[in-house]
């Protein structure tokens, strides 16, 4: 009995350390990719300034390419947002004392999930989290659902 409890404590501690390490690695990776993305944005801005006014056919083609770059680079920003949410969840998991408490079961799991849900700011993050919790992975359904509203606009 005592050996089993010690084994559970050990596994919980390992889980906490792994979650913390994963959060730190994510934070480093995100920071590392931020500067190149900003440099790319600055380069595009300079290109855009050089193109004005885009009257020549070559200028028009470059303007179209520039617009494509603007659209594409936004997915980096989205990735960073999703990674920030995952980093926060991992940090929360590492900090959360629930798994180390005696009698960790379905009720405690629900409490942990509720605590994690509180940290989700955007609706899309919430949807992503629910999918992960239910299925253990993100399938095509998530992409299809998220894609419907992308790029939409509504004037009130």
């Amino acid at each position: 009995m005592a050996t089993a409890a010690a084994d559970t404590r050990c596994r919980c501690a390992t889980l906490g350390v792994s979650a913390e390490a994963a959060a730190i690695l994510l934070a480093f990776a995100m920071r590392e990719s931020e500067t190149p993305a900003v440099e790319l944005g600055s380069a595009l801005e300079r290109l855009g300034q050089g193109l004005r006014p885009a009257s020549a056919p070559a200028g028009e083609a470059l303007t179209r390419d520039l617009a494509a770059c603007v659209r594409a680079l936004q997915f980096h920003d989205r990735l960073m947002q999703q990674l920030a949410v995952i980093r926060n969840l991992l940090t929360r998991l590492a900090d959360h004392p629930l798994p180390q408490m005696a009698g960790f079961g379905a009720q405690r799991w629900e409490e942990l999930l509720a605590a994690l849900r509180e940290r989700l700011a955007a609706g899309s993050h919430d949807e992503l989290f629910e999918l992960l919790v239910r299925t253990g992975g993100v399938g095509a359904a998530c992409g299809a659902g998220a894609g419907q509203a992308e790029g939409s606009s509504e004037l009130f």
């Binding site: 936004q74 997915f75 609706g123």
Partner: protein, 120 residues
């Protein structure tokens, strides 16, 4: 040509919005969150404010609410540009006084046409 304030906590998003709007001949200033945006907006008048929703210090919906309290921004178009697309959040934006809700990723031409439309 309009004078536009773009508010986003992401440096790359600020650059992209500025790039897209500058290509249409607009003059674009940027702010990193709602608090900085309010400070900038108090120093100079903008024709449009385009803001993200989720930002540190002050979110976009609170920023819109604050701007609407100021007489010089009562009728200024205030657009939300965000990854959020739930009806609940849109309703919050509408109630705060937002003029429109745009979901990222934005298309530069579409953004320019919306800006032209709300300025008309």
């Amino acid at each position: 040509m309009a004078r536009i304030l773009a508010v986003d906590d992401s440096p790359s998003m600020r650059q992209l919005v500025k790039l897209a709007l500058s290509s249409g001949g607009h003059e674009v200033d940027v702010a990193t969150d709602g608090v900085e945006a309010l400070q900038v907006a108090e120093k100079q008048q903008f024709d449009i404010v385009i803001t993200d929703v989720n930002m540190p210090n002050m979110d976009g919906i609170s920023l819109v609410r604050e701007l609407r309290r100021r007489t010089n921004y009562r009728f200024t178009p205030l657009l939300m540009l965000t990854t959020e697309s739930t009806a609940e959040r849109k309703q919050q934006g509408k109630e705060a006084g937002a003029t429109g809700w745009l979901v990222k990723p934005f298309d530069p031409d579409r953004l320019l046409s919306i800006v032209t439309k709300v300025l008309a």
